[in-house]
Symmetry: none
Subunit: 162 residues, 2 copies
DNA sequence: TGCCAATTCATCCTTTCGGGTGAAGATGAA
DNA sequence: TTCATCTTCACCCGAAAGGATGAATTGGCA
């Protein structure tokens, strides 16, 4: 696990370096072109018709905008890793209702999920073996399964048990 | 869950709007100051000593840098939410060895975890029922459990099955 | 008060599971 | 080659699980 993580981080660093270089060169070229274009236009139209201050202001604004744009494009999005931790298990009342599973059946399901036999469940809940079997039968019908292993599976899927 | 998420997104949008406005004003002021400084310097030192092209180039570079810097500072880090979802399940070779569980037994354990009966497992793996029972017996001994529900539990704990 | 659902327990029966033992073929390492 | 392990399958037996049905008791709700 640790190896995988560090490997991917290295990849990320390498790829980001190359990507940065490529982008820097790209925007550098655009910048050079822009300067060249300005020079060409300069002597033809502007320099004698407008005051030098406005000319400088235009250049300043243009390159500021270019810089901002380049700055945004140049950087990769900063990643904030949000870890989604174990949710502490909240019983799904909805699924409990929709399945029609009763409180007592849920008790049995919980112990069933711990790998207990019907007899052990009966002992824990101070019930007779027959009663536990009744509840398990009810569970299988309501969960629409055939075996206790499947009942445990489905119980977890439906967030009835942790 | 949905309420919490949308609430935090609204907060984020509001706070980012205000933060952006404050920063924009701040950097706008800096930009204005810089232009003013240039104007002041212009007539005093540079305009007669250097060719106009170099002067324009310096301004272009300065404002490009300022723009890049402003562009970086102006934006809050883009959040890329990386969900650390279900780890893709890596079988624990260590636990496999330490328990002494064989490849075939692991196959059976996997299907057992899906809630299949021994007969169904036999059908899936093209084995006889007896063979599957042999494997399950071996599993119970090696996992030190009594029932298949417990075997599934322990198999998951030991990262032998997903 | 009367009804309904949940809970409890029972009996009967079938299927599945789990334990024990044995054994034959395949594979692979010493 | 020999030996250990894995894989496959068989038979037997008891225990557990599962299915069907019936019935007594209880607690809440109309």
């Amino acid at each position: 696990m640790r190896n995988v993580a560090s490997a991917s981080i290295e990849q990320l660093i390498n790829s980001s370096i190359f990507a940065c270089m490529r982008k820097a060169i790209f925007y550098g070229l655009i910048l050079a072109l822009l300067i060249f274009a300005l020079k060409t236009i300069e002597y033809k139209f502007l320099v004698r018709e407008l005051p030098i201050e406005i000319y400088i202001g235009i250049i300043a604004v243009m390159f500021s905008v270019l810089g901002i744009w380049a700055g945004l494009k140049l950087t990769r999005p900063k990643r904030v890793i949000v870890r989604v931790a174990q949710s502490p298990f909240v019983l799904s009342e909805d699924n409990l209702k929709s399945t029609g599973i009763s409180r007592r059946e849920l008790d049995v399901l919980e112990l069933m999920a711990e790998g207990l036999s019907n007899q052990e469940i009966a002992d824990r809940l101070f019930l007779s073996l027959n009663t536990v079997k009744t509840h398990t039968s009810g569970l299988f019908i309501k969960l629409d399964v055939k075996r206790r292993t499947q009942a445990v599976q489905k119980g977890k899927e439906l967030r009835l048990i942790p």
